[in-house]
Every structure is written in C-alpha cells, then in structure tokens.
C-alpha cells in the first residue's frame, strides 16, 4: 500500500509537474505572442498613435492574424544556404529560451525544476542561445547575415560575462543559486536596493542578450537589412521573432525574481504579483525601444569591456566585502 501511495504520490507529482510545464509553456508562448500586439500598441501610445485596433476587440485579433499569416507564408530556404544548420538554428533559440523558464519560480511552489543551480542553468542556456544566432548567420551563406552573426557573437559573448558577474552579488547576498531561495532571501529587503548596480548592469546585459533595441546591433535593419535572419522567412523567421519576445519575458521574469522579490507581495496571490512585476519590466523594455537610440558597435563593445566589466567586478568585490564583514559579525 505504501508502495501504492508512493507510486500514487509519484504519479500525482508527475501530473502536477506536467501541468506546471504545460502551464508555463502555454503561458510563456501566449505572453510572447500577445507581446507582438502589445509592443505595437505600446509603441503607438508613446508615439501619439493608436496602434493596431481594427482586428477584434482592442485589435487583439491581430495576434491571431499574425500567427495565421506567419504560418501560411512561404517557407523559403535559399539554395545557397547550408540547409541542415539553416533549419536547426531557429530551433535552438526557441529551445534554449524556453528551457530557461524551467528554473523560474512563478510562485512559492510554481516552478518546473527547482534546481539548486538554477541561476547557472539560466546562464548556460542563455550562452547556448548565442549558437543559434551565429549558426543562423553562418548557414545563410550570405553577407549581411554573416556580418550580423559576427556582431552577435562579439556582443553576446561579451555581455554574457557581465551578466554572470552582475548576478554574483545577488547570489552572495542570498547565499544560493536556487532561485526560490533567492526570492525567499528578499523577504525583508528586495535586492534591488543593495544590488542596484547589479540590477543596472543586468538590465543592460539583458538588452544585449535579447538583441533588443537599443542594442539590436546584430540585426540593424538600416545597415544589415535584417542581420542574421535576413534570409529567413515563414515560420523559421517566426521562431526568431517569437524567440525574441520569449527572451524579453524571460529577462523580465529574472529581474523580478532576482531583484524585486519574485512572487512576494501583500494581499494578492504570489503568481499574480509575479506577473504584475514581470509585466512592468516588459513594458520598460518597450519604453526603452521607443526612446533610446542605438549606439555604434564600437561604442557598445568599449562600453561593455571598459565600463561594465570594471563596474561589475567592483560590485562583486564590495558585496563580497560587505557579506564577509557581516558574516564575521
């Protein structure tokens, strides 16, 4: 019976797990696709326009229309492309960004994989995402994609470093790589206060990692046509496109988790608080796009290595010192 109970519990756990996975997957994808519409509406709001408001209520049907369009478009593989890698590249980005959501805890218990190295897993997955972009550019076998890919490689590998370093302060403060524990460690004070420098650096690195404006150097449409995905069309392009929005949601969720106390908050259920906080940062991403202009590539790189790297190292040292002193007491 015990075995039965055991297996029943295991079964139950599996079902819950499956439910969570399905919920997270569906939630993330729906959020990402809504973001396609949401971003256009928000940009319009900040540019004194109305944005897409013709299809369905509030123009929400635009999401469905876009999905139908992108699915029915001709999926063209250029004859000069390296076909297997060309097909593989967009899959990688979708897979890695979606996998990163496994370690995000949306609520006290709403987490797919409560890994004790959760943060490292995210960093690993995000590093994998670079391959997608580089391979896409390489496999396209044409000049603009290659230039885009080269830029992406330089930009993403570089900012990966500061991203990792900026998070180490949080890890030291929480004393864990487990995201749930990091959230729980913020019960008294959100890390955005002691780790404000880490937050800023992570935010900037987040822009670079998701290749969002103002740091969308790999796809600058006015210099490189569309950068690494110039040759992509149909649903393959759709994967890059949706992948970018999934990335935005991911970075926003991480900021929430790491610096703004995740699900913590009064009165409302934890998941709702999490969603609200994440939404604010998603909007912030769009606001940045609506406001800031793109730097030159050399400015981007020198800013990264000459400003952000020393700053994040300093942040790390100061945090370490503070933790050491406090631990010593």
């Amino acid at each position: 019976m015990a075995v039965d109970t055991e297996s029943g519990r295991a079964m139950n756990q599996t079902l819950v797990m499956a439910g969570t996975i399905a919920g997270v997957l569906a939630g993330v994808l729906v959020a990402a696709s809504l973001l396609i519409w949401g971003e256009r509406r928000l940009l319009a709001v900040w540019q004194d326009r109305s944005g897409p408001n013709r299809v369905g209520p509030l123009g929400l049907g635009q999401v469905a229309a876009d999905v139908v369009k992108i699915l029915t478009k001709e999926d063209w593989i250029p004859p000069f492309a390296d076909k297997p890698i060309f097909v593989l590249a967009p899959m990688i980005i979708m897979t890695t960004t979606l996998l990163s959501f496994a370690v995000i805890c949306f609520g006290p218990s709403a987490v797919v994989a409560d890994l004790n190295v959760g943060l490292l897993f995210f960093l690993a997955m995000s590093a994998m995402g670079v391959y997608s972009v580089v391979l896409a550019g390489w496999a396209s076998n044409s000049k603009y994609p290659l230039l885009g890919a080269m830029r992406a490689a330089g930009q993403m590998f570089g900012y990966e470093v500061f991203m990792g370093l900026s998070l180490m302060g949080v890890v030291m403060c929480a004393g864990s790589f487990n995201l749930r524990e990091i959230v729980l460690a913020q019960r008294h004070l959100w890390f955005c206060v002691p780790q404000v420098l880490g937050l800023v650096i992570f935010l900037i690195a987040g822009f670079a990692e998701t290749r969002r404006l103002p740091l969308d150097l790999p796809e600058t449409e006015n210099e490189l046509v569309a950068g690494y995905h110039t040759e992509y069309s149909g649903m393959k392009f759709g994967m890059f496109y949706v992948g970018e929005y999934v990335g935005v949601v991911l970075v926003s969720s991480l900021i929430t988790v790491l610096f703004f106390g995740g699900w913590l908050g009064p009165w409302l259920p934890g998941v709702v608080w999490f969603c609200i906080k994440t939404l604010v940062f998603v909007c912030f991403f769009v606001l940045c796009r609506a406001t800031l202009m793109r730097p030159r590539y050399d400015q981007l790189m020198s800013f990264g290595w000459k400003v952000l790297l020393p700053l994040s190292l300093a942040n790390l040292l100061v945090t370490a010192a503070v933790v050491l002193v406090r631990g010593g007491q």
């Binding site: 709001v45 900040w46 004194d48 326009r49 109305s50 606001l287 609506a290 406001t291 800031l292």
Partner: protein
C-alpha cells in the same frame, strides 16, 4: 545617464497626450484646397471648357499619363477632342496644374479613387470635366488672349486697342 532617464520619462508622458492620428475612414482629415489629389478639368466663368488643348500638361507630365487631342470649333475656340488621364500612372505631382496657362486642369482634395480593375483608372474627358471653376474663379483665358473667338472679336480683349485700320491715314 540622467538624460536617458529623462528621455524615458518624456516618452512615457506621451501616454497621456492627445492622439496625433485620426480614425480613418470613420473620421476624415482636413485637406487644404490646394491639396494634390484627383485631377479635374474646370470650366470658365461663362460655363465653357477652360482647356484650350495646348498640350503643356501632357508635355510636363513626368510619367506621360496625360494624352489629349486639340480641336477647334467653328468660331476659333479651341477645346480638347479627347482628354485622357491614366490615373494608374499618375503620381499627383501637380506639374500639370502648374503648367496650365488657363487654370483648366486642377488638382482637388480627393484621394479616394481606388479600383479593383486598373482599366477603371483611365479617366476620359467626361469623367474629368466638372461644372465649376475650381480654385480660380473669374479667370477667362480668351479675355486676355489675342485671338478672336465667337463673341469676342479683335481688340475686344482686356488691355487691347481696337484693331488697326490699314487703310486709314492717321496711324
């Protein structure tokens, strides 16, 4: 850094501004009278066609979308036998209006002329001719031109002396 934040704030404040766009087609924009839209042929103050078939509009048209044939009635007044504009080629540059010496061809504030069939965008004189004078009321080319037409003989135009009598001694 502060400038960036200020910029973000300024842009954010735009959320509460009045929209610059309007909801076409429910609402329509105001178009100035000199807006360059659908081309019309106007009539003079006497209700007669202003176009004298001088071919200047067709010559100046950068996309060669105007074709006409000049004709003359029994009194010497000139008019276009046919006047055709291929709006599927027209770029609404307004050069024709600028070139027209008689204010006959004018561009109007109308842009709603989409068609499913390109052939329907070929406008003939009957489609172009309106019954009014358009933007320049009161102008009549023949009153200032030297030629005589029905109802206006030699020397009867504006700023003209009576015709010279070759047989007279005084002149």
């Amino acid at each position: 850094m502060i400038a960036l934040v200020k910029a973000l704030w300024t842009v954010f404040l735009h959320s509460f501004r009045k929209r610059a766009t309007i909801e076409y087609p429910e609402k329509k924009a105001y178009l100035a009278p000199r807006w360059r839209g659908r081309i019309v042929l106007t009539r003079g103050p006497d209700g007669k066609e202003r176009c004298v078939g001088c071919y200047l509009c067709s010559a100046v048209c950068p996309v060669s979308c105007i074709a006409l044939q000049c004709a003359e009635d029994e009194t010497g007044r000139r008019y276009p036998e046919f006047f055709r504009i291929n709006f599927s080629r027209c770029i609404f540059c307004g050069y024709c209006e600028e070139a027209c010496p008689t204010y006959a061809i004018q561009l109007t504030p109308d842009y709603e002329m989409s068609e499913y069939d390109r052939q329907n965008l070929v406008y003939e004189k009957e489609d172009l001719l309106i019954s009014g004078q358009g933007k320049y009321p009161g102008y009549d080319f023949y009153r200032v031109a030297g030629v005589s037409i029905g109802g206006k003989g030699k020397g009867e135009g504006e700023n003209e002396q009576p015709p010279i009598d070759v047989r007279g001694l005084a002149d």
